[in-house]
């Protein structure tokens, strides 16, 4: 690990000042950042410990929604009684990720900001436009099993690795961000992460000095909430494909279908047109296939990850079948 200056922030403004510097980074749980610092993928000159800022609360909101503080651990969120009862897709998504030891340290804000597990990104001897702009992308013609089939660019085909944010995307949660200028702004989780485009080094919309203070969950809605994660072993592995779903029926037709997908793109993938195919229709294999056609209309594989396209189709169908009570 490269030497760095360790600073403990004692207020939000203090943290904003400290992290606004060019080579400064905030540390909360540190489970991803310290891993990357050991690999010298991340080489901050100043590490700003934000663990004493509060922002750990998980609370009810007046409108019936919930507030999840940025420093609440993944465990605290997943085991919270109201998260379990009203937002089970979120509890399930968190429990499907990492290990208990990691979830006990990982935080809401850090989890949103976790970086890709692309093998070229984490190996400083390999080209990677995300880590070293202009050095090329090793994955496009290389080892690409974990990589994106939706929304990738000629610069980067990395995936966002998390589960929690996929559920938050399906729930249409909102990220609250405190800026270095003292103001706050709210960004939907669906717009928080970016597609790589020509600037793959920017994972999300945060600017220097920005700090996530928490995430707001909207009031709970009626319907089945499911999180299905497909991976290479049954525990402690990243998603090849995951689906977060909130699906409600009205009689024998689908009334609501809020869907988000993990493991397919540089961000949790939410495409409102997929839900529109389903709403007002009777569930069944043909309908689920039409929804998958829309989801995957621009999908492109890179050899090793070609399997993700049919896998996403089947995972979507399986989740919709379970949510609507249809036998496939």
């Amino acid at each position: 690990m490269r030497p760095f200056d360790y600073q403990r922030a004692d207020s939000r403004d203090h943290a904003g000042q400290l992290t606004a510097g060019e080579h400064a980074q905030a540390i909360a749980g540190g489970t991803n950042l310290l891993d990357l610092m050991k690999l010298q993928v991340e080489t901050p000159q100043t590490l700003v410990d934000i663990n004493r800022l509060g922002h750990r609360e998980i609370e009810d909101r007046d409108d019936g929604g919930m507030w999840i503080g940025a420093l609440a651990t993944n465990t605290e969120t997943a085991v919270h009684p109201r998260v379990r009862s009203d937002y089970p897709v979120l509890a399930r998504a968190i429990l499907a990720g990492a290990t208990q030891q990691l979830r006990n340290r990982a935080t809401t804000g850090g989890n949103l900001c976790q970086r890709t597990r692309c093998y070229y990104f984490t190996n400083i001897d390999q080209p990677c436009n995300k880590r070293e702009p202009g050095s090329g992308c090793g994955a496009i013609e290389g080892i690409a099993k974990l990589h994106a089939v939706l929304g990738a660019s000629s610069q980067c085909i990395a995936t966002y690795p998390g589960d929690m944010a996929v559920a938050m995307s399906a729930l249409d949660a909102q990220v609250e961000i405190a800026g270095a200028d003292g103001g706050t702004r709210t960004v939907p989780v669906r717009d928080f992460h970016r597609l790589p485009g020509d600037t793959p080094w920017k994972d999300n919309v945060l600017e220097p000095g920005d700090l996530i203070t928490g995430v707001t969950l909207p009031p709970p809605v009626k319907g089945r909430q499911l999180y299905r994660k497909v991976r290479e072993r049954s525990s402690y592995a990243f998603a090849l494909c995951s689906v977060a779903a909130i699906v409600a029926m009205d009689g024998d037709t689908i009334a609501r279908a809020d869907l988000a997908f993990g493991g397919l793109a540089h961000k949790p993938w939410h495409d409102p047109e997929v839900g529109q195919v389903l709403i007002g229709q009777k569930p069944g294999a043909d309908l689920f296939n039409r929804a998958a056609d829309v989801l995957l209309r621009d999908a492109r594989g890179y050899g090793e990850n070609d399997f993700k396209i049919p896998l996403a189709r089947r995972t979507l169908a399986a989740v919709l079948a379970e949510a609507t009570g249809v036998e496939l």
């Binding site: 690990m1 030497p3 760095f4 200056d5 360790y6 540390i27 749980g29 540190g30 489970t31 310290l34 891993d35 050991k38 590490l47 410990d49 663990n51 465990t75 997943a78 085991v79 009684p81 379990r84 009862s85 089970p88 509890a91 399930r92 429990l95 499907a96 990492a98 290990t99 208990q100 030891q101 990691l102 006990n104 340290r105 049954s234 525990s235 402690y236």
Partner: protein, 171 residues
Amino acid sequence: MSSENRVTINGEAHPLPDDPRVSLLDMLRHNLGLTGTKKGCDHGQCGACTVMVNGVRINSCLTLAVMHDGDEVTTIEGLGTAEEPSALQQAFVDHDAYQCGYCTPGQICSATAMLEEIANGWPSDASENLDGTMKPSAEEIRERMSGNICRCGAYANILAAITEVASGEPA
């Protein structure tokens, strides 16, 4: 770094290291000679470094010692001794729940915290329901212990040892 900064390890207060790069794991092993906690991968993948901080299990390799001002850390040395082993330590011996033994301290620290999590009703990815009483079934224990790798493959005996303590009956 102020000399006021202290971390309590197995009931004893220690000053935090001067170099902020020192992980909690390296502080335990190199600075304090508490070598029961093991360094396997040093990247949070194997669980050999598992300790409890304020009663919660974490990977000590993925946290900086300087971040633990005021925290209470329990390592394998704090759970029992050769003369008075904890129930899990004794069960691991009785069930031969290791071969080389390198992952064992992490397995036992992890399992100690895991039994508390089950008692607290925390669900896991293997739980059918998110609410209600959590049962220490084989499926649950396997899922909840997935952060602790045993490269000798002593999993069957590890499961038997934990099951015996969890159920209170010989497995």
